[in-house]
């Protein structure tokens, strides 16, 4: 008589049974975790450490000229753009976008991400060192 073995649903077994995570999914998780750290730093430094929650023009420029702040803000821009645009792409896939339409949408979103990052970096550079 065949014995039915009760399935083992321990975490380790469950992990092995999962399909291999895709690069897009892993990148979304890693950028999301990085964003939790970078956004907390941004919110605390830009809004919670200042009286009234907003910096004046001179305060913003002084703050951005600090090399550590400059790097943190640039990293935040790259992470948030990647995470956001990849998230929009994932939603499009969820809603059933496939084939040629999906390839066009992915291309448009990638171009949008590149333009956003380049514009944001230019803006940061101009504010810190432009004048």
């Amino acid at each position: 008589m065949a014995t039915r073995i009760k399935e083992d649903f321990t975490d380790a077994t469950r992990w092995r049974r999962r399909p291999r995570p895709t690069f897009a999914w892993l990148a979304q998780v890693v950028s999301g975790v990085l964003l939790l750290v970078l956004l907390t730093m941004h919110m605390v430094a830009q809004h919670f450490m200042v009286s009234g929650g907003l910096r004046t023009y001179d305060q913003v420029i002084d703050w951005i000229r600090n090399p550590v702040v400059f790097v943190v803000e640039a990293l935040l821009l790259v992470c948030v753009t990647w995470h956001g645009i990849a998230g929009v792409h994932a939603i499009m896939l969820d809603l059933g976008l496939r084939g040629r339409a999906e390839r066009i949408a992915a291309r448009v979103l990638l171009d949008l991400a590149v333009v956003t990052i380049l514009y944001g970096l230019w803006l940061l550079w101009m504010l810190a060192f432009g004048g």
Binding site: D11, R14, W15, R17, R18, P21, W25, V29, G32, V33, L35, L36, L39, M43, H47, F48, G52, G53, L54, R55, T56, Y57, D58, V60, I61, V80, T81, G84, I85, G87, V88, I91, D94, L95, G96, R98, T116, Y119, G120, L123, M126, L127
Partner: protein, 131 residues
């Protein structure tokens, strides 16, 4: 008689499943809410870039905008933004763990923990913004 394209049917079915509220569990609602807050935050990213571009027009333009940002309606929007960010961050972390096969049987407890953390962060932000 023309036969219906089965791919179109599947696409429509997938789309309707995503948008169909019937028979949904709390975890699915949290997943959908994560996607919706994500879309809102992407829209805010571009609004934020437009606002920051005002810095290029000099101190008068920026400091005038800062005065506008002290309006109670804008402050209420800021609070909504913090709540949305906190929800997307903490619930996103939960989704990443569950998606990795970790703590799957604790997903409801993690959702409760995420809700408590969102409440706390929103409360602290409300005190900082309106006090």
């Amino acid at each position: 008689m023309m036969r219906a394209d089965p791919r179109r049917g599947r696409k429509r079915q997938r789309r309707s499943r995503w948008l169909d509220p019937r028979g949904r569990h709390l975890g699915t609602w949290a997943f959908v809410a994560n996607r919706l807050t994500g879309l809102g935050l992407v829209a805010y990213l571009y609004l934020h870039l437009v606002i920051l571009s005002t810095l290029l027009r000099g101190p008068e333009a920026w400091d005038g905008l800062v005065e506008l940002f002290r309006h109670p309606l804008v402050l209420a929007f800021d609070l909504l933004l913090v709540a949305g960010l906190a929800f997307h961050g903490f619930n996103g972390l939960r989704l990443a763990l569950v998606g990795s096969g970790l703590l799957v049987d604790r997903h409801k407890a993690m959702l409760a923990a995420a809700a408590i953390l969102v409440g706390l962060v929103t409360l602290v932000a409300a005190v900082r913004i309106f006090a």
